[in-house]
Assembly symmetry: D2
């Protein structure tokens, strides 16, 4: 991953970068499919189960919940991202999956997948729950499927 | 906005927060619709025009391009977000709209709308261009319409 | 400020940047000395008083405490910075002063001064309290004086 | 490290946290002293040499320069930190040392030490070069010694 990122950085510096490459997307797919340990940044059993069941269809990993309360990430500028970073900082894993508010209160939700160093691999967004009333577990399921689909993993 | 955020923070601290509220989404809508000055964090004339044309249908604002090269944001962990912050830091405006890569190379793109202090109001994602080949201007148009729709502004 | 930052960005892009300039430091000094409203990101009355007393010697501002609990910023990667951003997001002011842990537990403390958009104007660090046992109010006083001194404001 | 951070997070949630602990500072010291590979986020040979020479007095590590241009980090809100993250994202190592501007142009400089996941272990600040004219290599040397001293590593 480091090598791929370095090459992309050098392309950006040289102004020769022309969008994502097949090998970059491939690398993200591999990191997700080959994960041996995944931490889901939630302490809600139901949300955890939805995410675990989908992930087990694409990878053979140990998947665990975070046993600390992540709601305090809501006091930051990007709650979903910061929930993920709370997991990165307190657990060793290959992947971290977090779900929470995108930005300011009212800005809807984001599901985000981070790698072992906290780098953003993919994500998906949902409208604010006020706008689009739907069962929360159903929504999380759609978000995770969407997050995987946009980097080429179809379920 | 500050008052609304403070109330949401206090709810999170007290563990009484139950998702986005109608007044919070309303406030985001107002900030967007009442914007008097908008800066688009791109120095690409075509991408700028797509975004300007849509924004002019919902608000009566002066809309300008950023006249510095934003490609160096690609050397950060979240390029789209950091493009937006480059605009926040170098221009006075009510809204900032940025579009770029979501995270690592291969992670697809994000369009993000920030307020005058750099707070995240809404966003939208697209698959990696390798996955979903579509005209870039068409994609940006869809992203902006989606970003507005998810906080209740239909075009 | 926006103009000054833009010029510095352009110099960096063009590889002509040669360190801080007198006018840039001058601008930071002006922002601090001319502040009309300052929010201190603490809900501790004693720490607040130390900071207020020093700031009143250099500027004629209304200075207030944040009335929300900032300790949850300790669950982020940079607690002092995130305390400051909690204040930026929940209060309107010209300056925000925060003090807390620099990074991981054990990394000692940081006092940081942010402007109205959350940009970092100056800061000061102290050793971990385990290393250097000193009265906390005395330490905060030294940090603030140091933070001001390094951008040319002597008290 | 993950375990120590988790315990500190739980203390903060429970409002029982009382400042840094001896074992936390000890853990930071160990991570630095036991590092096997260190990346210095600079492409300047002289600055690299100053940092390498000091680090070799306390640890037995392979130390290398980053061979990409880090000056574009100057277009972010916290240049020194973002230089460090550029190194984290493009190289595998146990420690990353970066040095650059603290915040806005004029805000002086910061030297920062990050661990393998990009967490902040320690740092040191210098006044803006306009304020305190001193040889840059001499300054970097003092910063690194100071950064180590504040977490209990004396040279």
């Amino acid at each position: 991953m480091e090598e791929i990122i370095k090459n992309a950085f050098i392309e950006s510096i040289n102004n020769t970068r022309r969008g994502d490459k097949r090998e970059e997307v491939k690398k993200i797919q591999e990191k997700i499919i080959n994960a041996k340990k995944i931490v889901v940044a939630t302490n809600n059993q139901k949300k955890f189960k939805v995410i675990r069941d989908i992930m087990l269809r694409i990878c053979n990993a140990e998947i665990k919940m975070l046993n600390i309360d992540t709601r305090f990430a809501d006091l930051t500028r990007m709650p979903a991202l910061n929930k993920g970073l709370m997991a990165v900082d307190t657990e060793k894993a290959d992947l971290y999956i977090a779900r929470g508010r995108l930005g300011v209160p009212g800005s809807g939700s984001m599901l985000i997948i981070l790698d072992e160093k906290g780098r953003v691999l993919t994500a998906a967004l949902s409208p604010s729950s006020v706008i689009h009333k739907e069962d929360i577990e159903e929504r999380i399921k759609k978000e995770l499927i969407e997050a995987l689909k946009r980097i080429g993993i179809d379920i």
